[in-house]
Amino acid sequence: MSMFTYAGIILGVMVSIYIIAKIFKLSTELSMLAAAIAGGLAGGFRIPARHIAEGAMTYLDINLIFITATLFMNILKESGGVAFVVRRILKRFHRSRTLLFILLTLLLLIPGALTGAGSVTVLITGGMVAVVLNYMGISKVRTTAIVFIIAGLSAAAPPVSLWAMMTAAGVNMPYVGFFYPLLIPCVIAALLTIFILGWKGTGTDIEKAFEELPEPPEKMNWLRVILPFIIFLGLVFIGRQWPHSTPVIGLPLMFLCAAVTSFILSPVKVNFFKISGDTVEQLLPLIGTLTCAGILVQIMTLTGVRGLLAVSTVTLPVIVVYASLFFVLPVSEAVLMWGAAPVIGVPLVLLFNTIGLNPIVALAGMSVIWPLGDALPPTAIIGRLTVEIVGYKESYIRFLKACIIPAIIIMIIGTLMVIYSSELGFLTGL
């Protein structure tokens, strides 16, 4: 049997089992696990314990970041810090919608840009920005779309863009020259998103907002809110500035330090252990999805399904590759998450390099499109996280529809960056 038939059959089995599991109302994570195990069995690997365990560990670090960052945000919320900040921002800036939008866009772009993870944006500033947007008269569904799209862009924004870094590492290209090719499209697309989706909202009803907003504890002040962030950013800064004289402590521990600071500074008594328990419970579906996505990718790689998808993508005619980027990249992200960079990104960048495009600008263009897939099943990690944090309760499809206009703009920007990458080569400054 040829490898194409073999991998094709396994892909078919995995997709069918996933659909059947979904029909039987199994959760996304269990459906992925079922598909992975079925793939292993169909491929003649029986139940490969080693590969299941190894795959499950793929996103361990990201899971730890999720847990510690959310714990930090939950403590901040519980101590009244979030309500305090929202009230102050509204009071100070409610007259100028434009200024507020620019300020909120910055708030959303910074955490993800620094850490490379859109989830961190959603967790750190997403919730707060959403509250402000709501009081600016923007519907919940549009608010969710704004937070999601800009969080995705923040992940692609420099200095840390994991897709660009991992793909660059995969083709042994130094991660240099990416700053402007990533920054410019991200900032433009983020501003377009917030203005297009937010402009039509009713005026800011400051009276009503203040009535509805929870009253922060009396002793709450800027210092108590900002100090934990300063601790976090300070630890990141120290690691960047003196990388060779400070120990590597990793993002999870940095978030934990911020959480503890916030706990100590809280003007009201906060139950640390209860919040910790609630946080893990809140995140369990996401952690489960990431863990099972890791298993799925591992089994796909083991059985050659991953290779089938990769080789099918890169052997399409170049015009078709260009025309399908807007579709292939988000879908690969939805299935593989960052795994999409080595699987699809590396062969595509090598293909672009071979046909004479500028690999840096082309990769930057791809990096802008990739995060759109974070709202799509099977994983839909950031999309679901955003829905959760913003507190949007209606249909997920409606949320996706709200994302369409900015998504199309981003797809066009990214695709044009790939096609005209040679002409845009000056952006790299190399």
Binding site: L302, T303, L350
Partner: protein, 389 residues
């Protein structure tokens, strides 16, 4: 009733989870503790430890063996390093053949088989790698640990959000902080990987190494393949070696200059931070290609893969591939021949500092007899001459 169901479901899932823990745990433990035997050839005059050169790696998993083959007559010193990337088996098996067979007539050879020893105890998360592979020999099979490109997180964790290389401060992807070939020249109080590189730099300086060769393999979709990457000090040597190898018609060997802007790589930093000439050899390893099909031991050792052939038909590869694949014997043979040729050309240019090695098979011989022919039976050898790698 519903509560009861949840209870039963939780018990069943816990039991399944526990079974997964046991079975995968056994596999991980066996992999990390798989003992590989090295039968010292008659040419090996001394076996040292990396910590003999730098105390900082003593007691760590990266305190690897240093095999020294002192020549009968004095000459230059050549250092050949394997398993800088432990997921590239030919880069490990070629120096293995030198240790078990080689005899230096002139000059001195230093060999390392597990440069990133930590990386030989882990496989790629999400990669589906086999934990080991076996080479058939005349006396049975010899089993080797398969490894990863990066050190085991059990030995070095957590990673930072971005890896800032020492001393250039170049920003690299965070995982590369565990990549031995991105950590050169290392530093004495750094991460385990940086300390390991520093220890090798100390070795290179203290043993007055003249030529340093780092053995690798690469995916076919990667432009730097089937080539020598040379530091500017080694341009002439590498150019002649690649020319002669290619002209002899055995196999094509390219030659590339080590870019000045790429930091942390051995071909750049070893040359910059020591007196040695630094060279890096790449052989083709289809197993590493992102478009590979089924990930198996067989693919690792035969290099046969329909998907990669398809990618090649579309002009996406930098090395040819057909239905015969890239067998491990061919890849190892490229490395042994290239190392032997480096000694030969060097000796022609430096008759007063010769490097002459005998009993090591070249390209044609390795292919004809297979690698297994050159691996010695540890159970029939003098136990004092058997080392655990």
């Amino acid at each position: 009733m519903a509560d009861n169901n949840v209870y039963i479901r939780k018990i069943i899932l816990s039991v399944l989870g526990f079974l997964l823990l046991i079975f995968s745990g056994i596999s991980f433990y066996k992999h990390r503790h798989l003992e590989e035997h090295v039968v010292l050839g008659e040419g090996v005059t001394e076996v040292k430890k990396l910590s003999d050169y730098f105390d900082g790696v003593k007691g760590t998993i990266n305190d690897c063996n240093i095999y020294i083959l002192e020549g009968k007559e004095p000459g230059a010193t050549l250092f050949v390093m394997g398993a800088s990337h432990p997921e590239e088996p030919a880069g490990r098996l070629a120096p293995w053949i030198f240790v078990e067979n080689g005899v230096m007539e002139k000059g001195r050879l230093i060999v390392v088989l597990s440069a990133n020893r930590s990386g030989t105890t882990v496989t790629r998360l999400g990669g589906g790698y086999p934990p080991d592979y076996t080479i058939p020999t005349g006396w049975g099979e010899q089993k080797f640990r398969m490894g990863d490109r990066w050190a085991n997180p059990l030995d070095q964790w957590p990673d930072p959000e971005v890896y800032i290389h020492y001393p250039s401060r170049q920003n690299l992807a965070y995982v590369d902080i565990r990549n031995l070939n991105r950590a050169w020249p290392g530093r004495p109080n750094g991460t385990l990987t940086e300390k390991t590189c520093y220890a090798f730099m100390e070795l290179i300086r203290k043993e007055k190494v003249d030529i340093f060769i780092d053995l690798h393999e690469a995916e076919l979709q990667y432009p730097v393949i089937s080539t020598i990457v040379a530091h500017e000090k080694g341009h002439e040597l590498a150019a002649v070696v690649s020319m002669v190898l290619t002209d002899m018609g055995e196999f094509n060997m390219g030659m590339e200059y080590s870019p000045k802007s790429l930091h942390g790589l051995s071909h750049r930093e070893v040359g910059d931070f020591s007196d040695a000439i630094s060279l890096l050899f790449e052989a083709p390893e289809p197993f590493l290609d992102a478009t590979r099909g089924k990930t198996t031991r067989e693919q690792l050792l035969t290099g046969k893969d329909e998907f990669i052939v398809k990618a090649g038909e579309h002009g996406l590869l930098f090395e040819k591939i057909d239905e015969n694949g890239w067998p491990i014997d061919v890849r190892v043979g490229r490395h042994t021949s290239a190392v032997l040729m480096t000694m030969e050309i060097w000796t022609e240019e430096h008759p007063d500092m010769s490097l002459v090695c005998i009993n090591v098979p070249g390209y044609a011989e390795v292919i004809e007899n297979g690698i297994g022919y050159y691996l010695k039976d540890p159970f029939r050898a003098n136990p004092e001459r058997v080392i655990i790698e």
